[in-house]
Amino acid sequence: MTARMDARFAKLKEEGRPGLVTFVMSGDPDYETSLAILRRLPAAGADVVELGMPFSDPMADGPAIQAAGLRALRAGQTLRKTLAMVKTFREENTDTPIVLMGYYNPIYVYGVDTFLKDAKDAGVDGLIIVDLPPEMDEELCLPALAADINFIRLATPTTDDKRLPKVLANTSGFVYYVSMTGITGGAIASTSAVADAVNRIKRHTELPVCVGFGVKTAEQAKVIGRDADGVVVGTAIVQAVANTLDKDNRATGDTVEAVATLVGGLAAGVRAARLEAAE
């Protein structure tokens, strides 16, 4: 486990509040704007950053994140540039954990060992690789753990009690509970079902449980944050980027600011989660 991730969740526990985990697509809409967004996230209220590695065929993503990945690729983003972006971010921020999220093929083609070395050097704390279930742990999960990089697994509504121990076995950092079956950006499941699922997972693990897929507003973040240790917001942030672009999908003066404003609101939401629940 990386120290940065553990320290962050320990601090959140101390503060008695859930964390805000923000997803942004690296290189969307271009390298410089994306780096500027990344730099603004901690001050805006992000506790953990998930940085998307764009892939041409994002099979588990909805239209908003698909479009963000394609914008990034068209603007010339590569895995190498994503790592460079993390390295630049680390020059001024050493305490916000960064989790790279994406699909396996770009890493496989980069070369697993080289990638893990470069990622560690850049200051990456964890990986979420959508198409690597526990059955394929020897590919990347075990080498990542050996390289002191968290491998964060998705648990889903289809992960029953029988399967859960297998999913949790080599998971580290936190558990990412996908609150619904489906692609990113769909409708959120009922909040009581989410709470039940979070508590079910917590019976099997000491790790923090973060909930995502379908969280779009500060209000939802607040409600989900009552039971979860972290609330993940992705599609809404990516959509905020998209909404500010000009007709040629280029960044405008509003792009970075729109993300910061949205994240600020979401951060207020998660900070209110336990206060209100305690009243």
Partner: protein
Amino acid sequence: MNKPVEPNSFRTGPDEQGMFGIFGGRFVAETLMPLILDLQAHWEEAKNDPAFKAELENLNTHYTGRPSPLYFAERLTEHLGGAKIYFKRDELNHTGSHKINNCLGQIILARRMGKTRIIAETGAGQHGVASATVSARFGLPCHVYMGATDVERQAPNVFRMKLLGAEVTPVTSGHGTLKDAMNEALRDWVTNVDDTYYLIGTAAGPHPYPEMVRDFQSVIGTETKEQMMAMEGRLPDMIVAAVGGGSNAIGLFHPFLDDKDVQIVGVEAGGKGLEGDEHCASLTAGSPGVLHGNRTYLLQDGDGQIKDGHSISAGLDYPGIGPEHSWLKESGRCEYVPIMDAEALEAFQLLCRLEGIIPALEPSHALAEVIKRAPKMGKDQIIVMNLCGRGDKDVFTVGKILGHEL
């Protein structure tokens, strides 16, 4: 590349993890993992159940019209002046291609699993039509994802699917071809996990699909062996098939893999040539990668981004290939070669005139390779080619290229 030690048998794969050597596997989202394990358990049970086998054989005989004939192409053989050429005529199957073999097997399995909704991806539309057909036959709703480009160039098949009661969704992401349709089908499956069965059309995707589709298609090779023995009293010297995803090819090849005297040739879509990006020759010009649930040869760039291929034939227009073909290539058991659009088009026309058969553009690629090889072989030698689909669906495409207003 170092060649691995030759195995005792080429027919034992995949292993329990679904691997053919380093190829294959189960690279899917966690949401789908329980579904794939469930599918595997049902498949293991079904394939050893005599009742399942009997139901499939009955449908193969009376619904599809199996066995398909093994036909001696006398005039083509004379024209080329070399090896005797036989066609395995899977284009005579109900729905016009080999795709029905797999669809019948999978829909019986879907029913055993209690699934009530069928989804499928399609390129040329042959698998979509076959899926819509078996769904109609068993009264299940069917939703077909098809790239928008393919919807346009295969309009007759889109209408066929609609006649058969299927809903067809054009997919606009990427180039709007087969790979994009498969992405969208996977997105549907990951959303509708409870009632939906994903009927994959080729011998690719996460384990157990490559094995399962191969086993359903192996009826092609098994029949060919029996028919060849009856007609010639021996096995052929060479078998040839087109490979897109590779299901018709693996169906013909698999029963012959351990017959070491039988030379095996798979023919990929060379498109407009291998120099640029306008081809679909993943084995000849691609490299190993992970896409759509399996590791296999892919067309991709240095950053691991998947390229959109090109072929005159929508059915071969896929940047990947079934994982077992990747393994058969690396193990050296099978040879894979590209055929260009123009060569396939020539072969297509030649067969129309010499044998009175309008082939699909997919097997026209295999035919073009046969045309190259047969004259160099002796008259006592035998080639079997899988004529896996008929060309009715391609008449408009070919007409357009040849400058005929239809």
